[in-house]
């Protein structure tokens, strides 16, 4: 009836050709590298050698290509920079009506006399929201990497961090004394910078960073445990999420009212947004320090 064995032979020949067991008469363009049916993996040392040569070749030509690309890029950039509008001239194309508008109408549009804060929070607030999301993401990803309450692979890690914790306890006297004196002033200055974003240079980012730096000084001088009294894991993630959520919702409402031409109910919200951004930045900075030093907030 159907010539079973012959068909069978044809199919197995095709399969064995596909598996590269038997080279067809003409050496086809590509050959699966698995030579013999019995051995699953290619011979160890042959594979090792091929990987070694591939890696070696990569590390040979890569530096040369990298230096070449870098040099051409720098020369091209030098050429363009010298063709660009000269430094510090009034008539540069960048100082166009947009900049004038921000300076002249910044006061009545957004209520803040610091043109940079006006631009960051009101005119181009969407970038700053994206910016706060970047900060939020960074802390989340560092938590994914370094947070220790996950399953700890080996006890060694736990013992070493325990040793670090008590080592931190009796920080040396000089640090404790200076921190004891300095911390209140740092917090005062941070809150001042944070709240006076409109009238003086500062605002959400710088205020938040200084606040975070103050927290770090306090926690490195008096030990993480004292900080955890006011800022344990729960309150930390609450403040962080509350800050960004407040900012997102406030700014969302601001956009919705603005885009649809509704009267601007949220006149004084620039201060609130500054506070929210400051909270997010401070929590991020402190979160980085806490995760890097002891692995938990």
């Amino acid at each position: 009836m159907s010539n079973g064995p012959e068909k069978q032979d044809w199919r197995t020949r095709l399969v064995s050709w596909v598996d590269g067991d038997r080279e067809p008469k003409d050496q086809s363009l590509f050959v699966m590298e698995q030579r013999h049916r019995r051995r699953f993996l290619p011979t160890e040392e042959e594979h090792e050698r091929r990987e070694k040569t591939r890696l070696h070749r990569f590390f040979n030509w890569y530096p040369v290509a990298a230096v070449f690309i870098a040099l051409t890029l720098v020369t091209v950039l030098l050429g363009t920079v010298l063709q660009m509008p000269l430094f510090g001239q009034e008539s540069n194309p960048i100082n166009n009506e947009v900049a004038e508008h921000y300076l002249e109408h910044g006061e009545e549009d957004t209520g803040s006399s610091n043109a940079v804060t006006a631009m960051i929070l009101s005119y181009r607030g969407f970038d700053t929201l994206g910016e706060s999301c970047v900060l939020f993401l960074a802390v989340t990803s560092v938590m994914m990497l370094l947070l220790k309450d996950g399953e700890d692979e080996d006890g060694k890690l736990a013992r070493r961090s325990a040793r670090e914790a008590d080592q931190e306890e009796h920080g040396d006297i000089i640090l404790k004394r200076t921190a004891w004196v300095l911390t209140p002033f740092i917090f005062l200055f941070a809150i001042y910078v944070l709240l006076n974003g409109e009238t003086s240079p500062g605002g959400g980012f710088s205020g938040g960073t200084i606040l975070g730096a103050g927290l770090i000084l306090f926690s490195s001088a008096f030990g993480q445990r004292n900080v955890r009294v006011i800022m344990d894991r729960k309150t930390y993630s609450f403040i962080r999420t509350f800050g960004l959520m407040l900012y997102a919702l406030l700014y969302g409402a601001y956009i919705f009212f603005g885009a649809n031409g509704l009267p601007n109910y949220l006149a004084g919200m620039a201060l609130l947004i500054d506070l929210a951004v400051g909270l997010v930045v401070a929590c991020t900075i402190y979160g980085f320090y806490a995760l890097f030093s002891t692995g938990e907030i």
Binding site: V74, G88, D127
Partner: protein, 124 residues
């Protein structure tokens, strides 16, 4: 030629810094030095961006009360963009340093060449 370089001193420095940072980012085998290279490269880009907004003889963009004429202050846009950029580069640096710590905890080295060899061996 020299006169334009002296006039554009900030931009030329920014390009030189960019070249240094770029080369370190590409060539250094040590991951930590790559991160420093990246930071230098980013600072260079922000120096270029901020130096474009500067206007000779103008002061910081804090608008006093009364008659507001724009020709007293510098251009606020670039400094706003650079403020955003600085905070972005901090968060990315923190992320890459955390990655380097995990890699060191896993492989015991941060030299890229050794890491690649160990990863290749482990993958098969």
């Amino acid at each position: 030629m020299l006169e334009t370089i002296l006039q554009d001193r900030f931009a030329v420095t920014a390009v030189i810094l960019f070249g240094i940072g770029f080369m370190n980012l590409m060539l250094q085998q040590d991951l930590l030095k790559k991160v420093v290279g990246f930071n230098i490269m980013d600072s260079a880009v922000f120096l270029l961006l901020a130096s474009l907004g500067y206007i000779e003889g103008h002061t910081a963009p804090i608008v006093e009360e009364g008659a507001v004429n724009a020709s007293l202050y510098i251009n606020p846009i670039p400094s706003g963009l650079v403020l955003t950029g600085i905070v972005v580069s901090v968060s990315i640096t923190a992320f890459s340093l955390a990655l380097i710590q995990r890699i060191y905890r896993r492989y015991g080295t941060i030299q890229l060449r050794e890491l690649l060899e160990k990863a290749k061996k482990e993958e098969d």
